[in-house]
Symmetry: C2
Subunit: 724 residues, 2 copies
């Protein structure tokens, strides 16, 4: 009898456990936590087009499958087969790969690019030395560019190392990204289409001040100097070299004076003869779109110039029409929103392809010239009929695919379902593989026939949070401080929300340009830590203030010369909205942000000391004169030109006003927002007799990544639990 | 009627306020706080002997008064008169000064030594350039040595700058202290008695590793490298030069190999012909007391050698008997306690002057040869009868003055009152000015006639804490962990202590060698912040564990090769004693310490994670292999010789065991316990997923000084209030 009771009791207890929804641990919700990835929605991994009719993806991570648009599938390669081709890969899943010419698979392996021709099962490889980085393949020519230390090389299937540059000055860096990755720059090498020429950035940092990073893991702490040009100070000088494979000579483009400019969005002409560069002055208010002769290095012409009172920010290279090497698409925000402009290579605007109070977010591709094309285009000889884009036309919170007519004012949406679509266009433009989500849909993949906009579902992911206690998420609209428009905000309520109770709330803020914290995709763009905090009884709130992305130039550029000012005004509109709710305890409002969000957090805590009880500011900018030239001067001009703006935005000037509990956190190796920022704020608090809390992650850079991020988020959680 | 009531009420309220004792603010109790100095007991400022019968002191800071031993007083100089002598002094009180030859006053002013002959009111000066440091005067010769950057100079009343050394290598440093101020070294220049020769240290740091300190107040953070030799690594090489004023030549002593040794306790022979040096091997277990010819630099002889299994630590230069240039006093702990040994210059021990289980803490002086001297000394020709010392004979918690017979085993105490005496002996040894205090007596100054030990009170300070609420302080004795003896501890109870209540307690710990936290002087040696915390309801507790000072070699040297081990055992005896009290809430015990005390705090928190709820560790040593050679290797040997000891004492190895809340604090410019220490602990906590709190004082060195110290102590106070 005793046993039976125990048994019954245990059974009942287990059942009730099963029925009860689960709470998160930090390892579930923090990127870097042991369980974080298990909440990624399932998908067709490595999905990509092979040719006009077929695409491929991974099955169980170990089998590469191709599937025709009609649905027939076959295995292309297994992990085992791949490992027979090379002894150089130890991974447990088929690695990163790409198709070429519809039949050749390229795998990126350590010190090796492996090529596998599916039809005849032959393979070949290009190998390169250990320590190489920034690899860049021209498949047609079979040449792989890479950098070692500060120099540039390339390899072929015959040779491992051919020097493009042999510079002994370690502060002249060839073949790497420049201008601190601003202006859409993310690489330093640019093969001509046929691979006969290699254009590359050559960056001279000799004149740039050093910033010291201290490695405390050494036997005795050691300094590592990085080059860090601060606003108003000497910046790097960039040249563009063109290496001629045939004769081994390098020609540097004759870009003239002043040297202290930005050379952005490099593109080759389809005929390998010309190089196009969007050149920006240091003041960032004038962009000249220039064409250079790749052989001589001479400037041929300026196609057009863009100017702006605040700043011009070219971010996308020109895209030539596949059928016409004399015509290209240029993206510009000159109308107030990012749109497409069709130009010819004389620099004549043919027509503006898209317009309206919304933005093009990317170009997906074109119709391919084929017998389906009408041929009846007004643009004589042009075989493309449409350019396919991703855009915010329906809503700035959504991304949809559109077919935009090249010759007439017409555009058509390809994607029905509300949400965020990430479509991949087939080579001929007849199909899209559309991976999408919305707040109700974790992930779906549809095959869309572009002409008819017919949709067929290929894959539907389950909800990875089934069985977990998630609080209600609301997307909201709140008037901006200048009442010009409605800002987007997001509120997450505790799972057991009771409107009659009073809850503390935490505002998570970023607020800087090039950001959007809220969208209509899965989870509304939220990071799951917010749901974790909601489970702990905090209402979580976020608002995208003016200055953030996808809402046009005016919305963004209002921040110019005084960062934080309008951003804070908008955040306080969110604050007012939030604290107007009866279920919010307005004496217990916290705020948390990192980087620009750390700047915002510290600014909010000091400008509105009565509003916020607790704040956590990570990697914060404290003084924009200690931030870098490219980003900093775009938004703030130089300290000499804008002393008042710099002074007004230096957060340490307001340290004396701080009243709430503020935890400041920094990575000691931060090369982006250097450690000087938060230490200056600490110093000022000490001088002003103001209490402050602080933490440092000694080995981390601008973000605390990996498993250590769990430590960070535990610290932040604890801080709000202790003091909010 | 209404007015009258108000008046009565106000009066009553004011009276009750007056009756109520005051509580402290942090500005009262923190060194650096605006009100801290107002609690210094009053005294006769700048008290010193002028000649055998007269002493001087400051009246109201602005008038220098001399007073004969019979009590008659007269003004010597006013601040106004001093300012008429020089335009170079802006201070509000008579500055630091010293008497010479009974009639000449020397004032230390900026870039100037001003001399003033009282009798004929004449004055003269020696000036020296701005930026000079380490000034060292030979009054007889009228020469003032000083350093500029890394070189050595001297000035006279005629010349401002005569170069002794002109070294261009910035890592060879002349005339400054060496060996990181260990072995009693605190300066780098040593005039011969007649001023014809200047002996000086020359330190070559070329081979010492740099440690980077980062200045974040610069426009862009800048590195300042300091030389920091870590245990087991290459150390500085020190030479001793002798500069001959007559010919401008410098002879370097031929100290031979190995160069990596310690040259300590330099002393001149009275006849200006010989230099004596206590030379210690890098292992610090063998000291050779050597004599060098000052002219040739050749070693004449080794007078004697001291060895010790743990370490030898000479800290006091020889002292010659005034009447006999062939005899000197040597202080040594060779008997287990620091005592006096009379030697002749052949290196023969004449006799041990003092002995017993107590220590000589300083030599005050001698009887002067005069007609009072008996002349009947056994030591033929010797005119001194007594040497006067300060010692711990009565108790290691007290300091008393003793007359020790030079020729027979006899010593006599000069000071009656229990407590800590700081006597100044008159030139002829007939009188003492005895400034003393005990736990009941803030400060008294007595004039003592040494022959009769007769005492006359000159000054009695009032209690600066009258009207303030001070909790009861108890000095306690607690058996050491090895039960070999009784350790001293101190407990401070809250002012409104109620035995029936439960109190949280904070253990303040230092625990390292060369320290004594508790004595029988005023306030028992406590820092007033402890009384501040007692007012907030914390019981404050401190214990001097084995390893601390004034209790002999065994008591100290038990720590050898495993710092912290026995120290912690003893501290835990204190913990047991403390928590055995019914009025102590043993679940709420905190611990706080700085430097070695930060090491102890972190060690205690990690070794006894269940014992301590909250800790604050400032400037902590975390890994002795990151500490400097001189101090570190004395107690730990080198990492190669003692890998287990180093490993056992590396606190980050125990980071994973930390359970309580620990706040670690560091000065970013700390050149003593470099910042690497605490950052390594932070790094390990992050790796181990262990919560930790941290704070940094960006511009501070090993201690947070000045007004900023109030910020520090507020932070520490807040931490205990938040979490204990």
């Amino acid at each position: 009898m005793k046993y039976l009771l125990s048994f019954l009791f245990i059974t009942f207890f287990s059942l009730s456990l099963l029925a009860q929804k689960k709470s998160f641990t930090l390892d579930d919700v923090v990127n870097g936590g042991t369980n974080y990835r298990s909440f990624y929605p399932e998908t067709l991994a490595s999905l990509q087009w092979i040719n006009d009719d077929t695409f491929s993806y991974l099955q169980d991570d170990t089998t590469l499958v191709c599937q025709s648009i009609t649905g027939s599938k076959k295995k292309v390669l297994t992990l085992g087969e791949l490992k027979e081709l090379t002894s150089n890969y130890k991974g447990q899943k088929i690695p990163s790969h790409q198709w070429h010419n519809g039949d050749v698979l390229e795998f990126r392996l350590p010190q090796e690019r492996l090529f596998y021709k599916v039809k005849d099962k032959t393979s070949w490889r290009i190998t390169y030395p250990e320590g190489a980085a920034n690899t860049d393949l021209n498949y047609a020519a079979g040449r792989l560019a890479y950098t070692m230390d500060n120099n540039l090389y390339y390899a072929t299937s015959q040779e491992e190392k051919i020097a493009v540059s042999e510079n002994e000055n370690p502060h002249i860096i060839n073949g790497q990204t420049v201008h601190r990755n601003e202006f859409g720059i993310h690489k330093g090498t640019f093969w001509s289409p046929n691979g006969d020429f290699l254009a590359f950035y050559s960056k001279d940092e000799t004149m740039v001040e050093d910033y010291p990073l201290v490695d405390i893991l050494a036997r005795q702490a050691k300094v590592r100097m990085i080059k860090y040009p601060m606003a108003g100070m000497s910046s790097e000088e960039v040249k563009v070299g063109i290496y001629n494979v045939a004769n081994g000579n390098t020609t540097y483009l004759d870009t003239g004076e002043p040297k202290d400019r930005y050379f952005t969005n490099i593109a080759w002409s389809p005929d390998n003869r010309f190089l196009y560069i969007a050149e920006l002055n240091r003041g960032q208010d004038t962009m000249m779109f220039n064409c250079y002769n790749a052989n001589s290095g001479q400037r041929i012409k300026t196609l057009f110039t863009e100017t702006d009172e605040e700043y011009v920010e070219p971010q996308n290279p020109m895209v030539f029409l596949p059928s016409d090497p004399e015509k290209f698409i240029w993206q510009s925000r000159r109308s107030g929103y990012n749109h497409l402009y069709l130009y010819n290579t004389n620099g004549e605007l043919i027509r503006q392809l898209s317009k309206g109070k919304w933005e093009v977010t990317s170009i997906l591709g074109f119709d391919k010239a084929d017998n389906r094309g009408s041929g009846k285009t007004k643009l004589k000889g042009l075989k493309e009929k449409h350019i396919y884009i991703s855009a915010t036309k329906k809503s700035h919170l959504e991304r949809h695919a559109y077919a935009v007519s090249i010759d007439k004012e017409e555009m058509r949406c390809m994607t029905d379902n509300e949400g965020v679509h990430r479509p991949q266009l087939s080579p001929n433009g007849h199909y899209m593989l559309d991976t999408w989500s919305n707040t109700e849909t974790p992930l779906k993949i549809d095959l869309i026939k572009t002409k008819e906009a017919m949709t067929q579902n290929l894959f539907t992911a389950g909800n990875p949070y089934d069985g977990y206690e998630l609080g209600e998420m609301k997307l909201l609209e709140i008037p901006s401080a200048d009442t010009s428009l409605l800002l987007t905000a997001r509120m997450i309520l505790p799972p057991d929300f009771d409107r009659k109770k009073k809850y503390p709330a935490i505002i998570y803020v970023y607020g800087g340009p090039h950001s959007q914290m809220i969208n209509q995709g899965w989870l509304g763009g939220v990071r799951m830590w917010q749901h974790y905090m909601a489970q702990k009884g905090f209402v979580m709130f976020t608002l995208d203030n003016r200055g953030t992305s996808y809402r046009g130039a005016d919305f963004e550029q209002v921040i110019h010369r005084e960062l934080g000012k309008h951003e804070m005004e908008d955040q306080m509109k969110g604050y007012e909205y939030l604290t107007a709710h009866a279920f919010i305890d307005s004496t217990r409002i916290g705020v948390f942000g990192w980087s620009f969000g750390g700047f915002m957090t510290t600014s909010l805590m000091t400008h509105y000391p009565e509003a916020f009880k607790v704040g956590v500011a990570g990697g914060p900018v404290i003084d924009w004169s200690n931030y870098e030239v490219m980003y900093g001067e775009r938004y703030m001009d130089s300290p000499a030109d804008n002393p008042k703006g710099y002074s007004n935005t230096t957060v340490s000037h307001y340290a004396k006003d701080l009243k709430g509990r503020l935890l400041m956190i920094h990575g000691a190796q931060d090369p982006v927002v250097v450690w000087q920022h938060s230490q200056k704020f600490v110093r000022q608090c000490v001088k002003d007799g103001v209490p402050l809390d602080y933490f440092v992650y000694p080995t981390h850079e601008h973000n605390v990544r990996g498993q250590d991020r769990v430590h960070l988020m535990r610290k932040i959680t604890q801080y709000f639990e202790d003091f909010l």
